[in-house]
């Protein structure tokens, strides 16, 4: 599943799998002003990220706009073998979102 917004990598080593995800997203706080018009840029940020390993939820998060632009998330779970899949989903405050999957290497 090709994804425009998510770069997802999962690597297994010594029985543990490390997941690294980079999500392309502006993460606007709603407090920043447009340099040209001087108007506030509307708030736009990712609210939730969920990661699954073989239909089992590994991580659920609730995020706020104070997470940096283009969020990068990294974590480790036990188990996982090369060739198996991990899946990551994000959802933002406008109801937009995307899901991507990656094969564990």
């Amino acid at each position: 599943m090709a994804s425009k917004s998510i770069k997802l990598k999962a690597k297994t080593e010594n029985g543990e799998t490390t997941v690294k995800a980079l999500i392309k997203h502006p993460m606007e706080t709603g407090r920043r002003k447009d340099k040209d018009s001087g108007e506030l840029i509307p708030i736009h940020y990712i609210k939730e990220v969920t990661c699954k390993y073989q239909d089992e939820t590994v991580l659920t998060t609730e995020l706020g706009p104070t997470i940096s632009k283009n969020p990068f998330l990294s974590f480790t779970f036990t188990g996982g073998a090369a060739g198996e899949k991990v899946e990551l989903t994000w959802l933002d405050n406008k109801g937009e979102g995307e899901t991507a999957s990656a094969t564990i290497s």
């Binding site: 390993y53 089992e56 590994v58 659920t60 997470i67 959802l91 979102g97």
Partner: protein, 157 residues
């Protein structure tokens, strides 16, 4: 895709128990936003104590050497401050990250599944030089660690 997203939301909402239960119990959420699970009260809070009460159920923190933070001391650019948190505690139910001087201190709450190691890294915005606080909930108690960071360019303006 549409129905798929809804199914996901429903599944997630039925799985997420803790935060929703607390928020719904406090009468803060309408049934519709319960489905979305996102903790409006905690993220809208303007103090660390209020954010913790709404997000983690209490603001009674125990400083613990078992919660370890890895953050550069002088990240300079407050827009991108890498934060890594790890612990030797077991049975961690949730992890909260806060920046005490930010207008809205709560950055995020993470709920590790039973498989996940209670450790992670993410990048946060720091508006001005402040303390970054990591709070972990284990066995109903909150354990925390904090580290001061100095930023020369604020990350929220």
């Amino acid at each position: 895709m549409k129905t798929d997203m809804k199914r996901r939301l429903f599944l997630k909402a039925s799985l997420a128990t803790g935060a929703v239960g607390i928020a719904a119990g406090a009468g803060l959420l309408t049934p519709r936003s319960v489905l979305a699970a996102w903790n409006t009260a905690a993220f809208g809070a303007e103090s660390v104590a209020d954010a913790l009460k709404a997000g983690m159920g209490s603001d009674a923190l125990t400083d613990s050497a078992e919660v370890m933070l890895d953050i550069p001391k002088n990240p300079e650019n407050g827009a991108v401050v890498p934060v890594a948190v790890t612990t030797t505690l077991s049975g961690v139910e949730s992890i909260a990250l806060l920046v005490d001087k930010n207008v809205k201190p709560l950055c995020g709450i993470f709920y590790p599944g039973k498989r996940m190691k209670p450790a992670m890294s993410i990048r946060v915005k720091v508006g001005e030089s402040a303390n970054i606080i990591a709070v972990m909930k284990s066995g109903g108690k909150l354990y925390s660690a904090k580290q001061a960071v100095t930023v020369t360019i604020g990350g929220c303006g």
